[in-house]
């Protein structure tokens, strides 16, 4: 899968998992801070995002510190998905 395609897919999944009302994938920039003021997310959303990674990409994050590095922007999440898929 193309990286660009993966990004759109991930954005769609983020919207679905977090039920971000009024957002479309186009509204989320690759470099938007997911836990910045734009989305108003909190610690429960972080848990929801790690469930997303496990269910949709088969990647299980066990270390909360890892989560803080990965769940930053769409780009950091995509990098993480690609890196962990490559290993598998």
């Amino acid at each position: 899968m193309e990286v660009a395609e993966l990004k759109v897919k991930l954005k769609t999944q983020i919207i679905e998992y977090l039920n971000l009302l009024d957002f479309t994938p186009e509204d989320i920039d690759d470099e938007d801070q997911l836990f910045g003021p734009k989305f108003d997310l909190d610690s429960i959303d972080a848990l929801e995002l790690s469930v997303l990674l496990e269910r949709e990409y088969g990647i299980k994050m066990t270390d909360p510190a890892e989560g803080r590095k990965v769940l930053v922007t769409v780009n950091t999440m995509v990098d993480y998905i690609l890196a962990n898929k490559a290993e598998a």
């Binding site: 039920n19 009302l21 429960i44 848990l47 929801e48 469930v51 496990e54 299980k60």
Partner: protein, 345 residues
């Protein structure tokens, strides 16, 4: 206690429209879904997580919290976010106790509406949730009354919320508490078949200890579980007595007739034994049955003693004279029985 303000999201047009000026909605079948507003005032970042009961409680409660300064929040709900609860339960089974999304778990707790309202209104005062099936609203009234007596509050947000969840609906149907035959809600009472029809919604009151231009007075409430018919009459007599009320002071009974042939006889017997001459109003043919149905009844009664006209569908036995004092008697599935007295101010 006095009702300073109130709001109601229900299967009728009670929230944004004039319920008393229009014909009630007549439903077919056993699920009376709430007529929900657009919730434009709830921040989208909060709304995205809310299940139906949280949404309805917030939609009905927040405007009151914004309008009135309140010292605390007391909510009654039996099922809370039952739909979320079952979503979580289904996740547990589907993913075999694997990694699960916590939102359904948190939203599914009955304490979620009271906590959510406190959070959104930054109200760090008294906060409690009564989750006691058919007596949850009466429990809220006791809690509020005590805070007023103790002088710990002057004004409180008190209300109930219930949602129809498909899982609980099926469970209640299995247990025989929901009608299997399809009838229209205007033909509900006396239809002669077992089971009730399910309603949902949120009813919120601003209650105050003093009468400051109040809409109505909540005189008192009481309850009993698993009574005999004699127990029930004795309890009602005590309630009247301690409030200095005679049978003739009650201008109308508002009874919880649900159309359930297994348990509506309680109302017949009660009215015959203690109030043979009194007019009778019904409300579940408009709002359906919920564990906290007496909250709808109280909203309805408060409006009626405040001068709103009685919808013809609610007249079970004609009322003569002015409507100043209404005794609400409601039971849930024949086990939990509650009373509320509402009076004009």
């Amino acid at each position: 206690m006095f009702i300073k303000d109130l709001s109601c999201i229900s299967p009728q047009k009670t929230f944004e429209d004039d319920f008393f000026g229009t014909e009630p909605i007549i439903y077919t079948g056993s699920q009376l879904k709430a007529v929900e507003p657009s919730y434009a005032d709830i921040p989208r970042s909060q709304l995205r997580r809310m299940g139906k009961s949280n949404r309805m409680a917030t939609g009905a409660g927040m405007p009151l919290l914004q309008k009135h300064k309140t010292d605390g929040i007391i909510i009654g709900t039996t099922d809370g976010g039952m739909e979320d609860c079952h979503r979580f339960l289904n996740q547990i089974i589907q993913y075999e106790e694997g990694t699960l999304t916590p939102t359904n778990f948190v939203q599914g707790s009955p304490s979620s509406p009271a906590g959510g309202l406190a959070l959104m209104s930054a109200n760090s005062g008294y906060n409690n949730t009564h989750s006691n099936k058919g007596l949850s609203f009466e429990n809220c009234l006791m809690d509020a009354d005590l805070l007023f007596i103790e002088g710990r509050a002057k004004s409180l947000l008190v209300g109930c919320v219930e949602e129809i969840s498909q899982a609980q609906y099926r469970i209640e149907t299995l247990a025989g508490f929901i009608k299997k035959d399809e009838i229209t809600s205007d033909k509900l009472i006396g239809c002669g078949t077992p089971g009730a029809i399910n309603g949902e919604g949120a009813t919120m009151f601003v209650l105050e200890s003093e009468n400051d231009n109040a809409l109505a007075e909540l005189v008192d409430a009481d309850m009993i579980s698993y009574p005999t018919a004699d127990d029930l009459v004795a309890k009602a007599k005590l309630l009247l007595e301690r409030n200095g009320l005679a049978v003739s002071d009650i201008d109308a009974l508002m009874l919880g007739y649900s159309g359930d042939s297994n348990s509506d006889h309680w109302y017949d017997v009660f009215a015959e034994q203690l109030f043979p001459e009194t007019g009778i109003l019904s409300f579940k043919n408009l709002f359906g049955e919920t564990p906290s149905a007496s909250a709808f009844a109280t909203w309805f009664a408060a409006n009626l003693v405040n001068g709103k006209s009685v919808p013809s569908q609610a007249v079970h036995k004609p009322i003569s004279g002015e409507l100043k004092t209404i005794l609400i008697y409601n039971h849930y599935q024949g086990n939990q029985h509650g009373f509320v007295v509402v009076r004009a101010v």
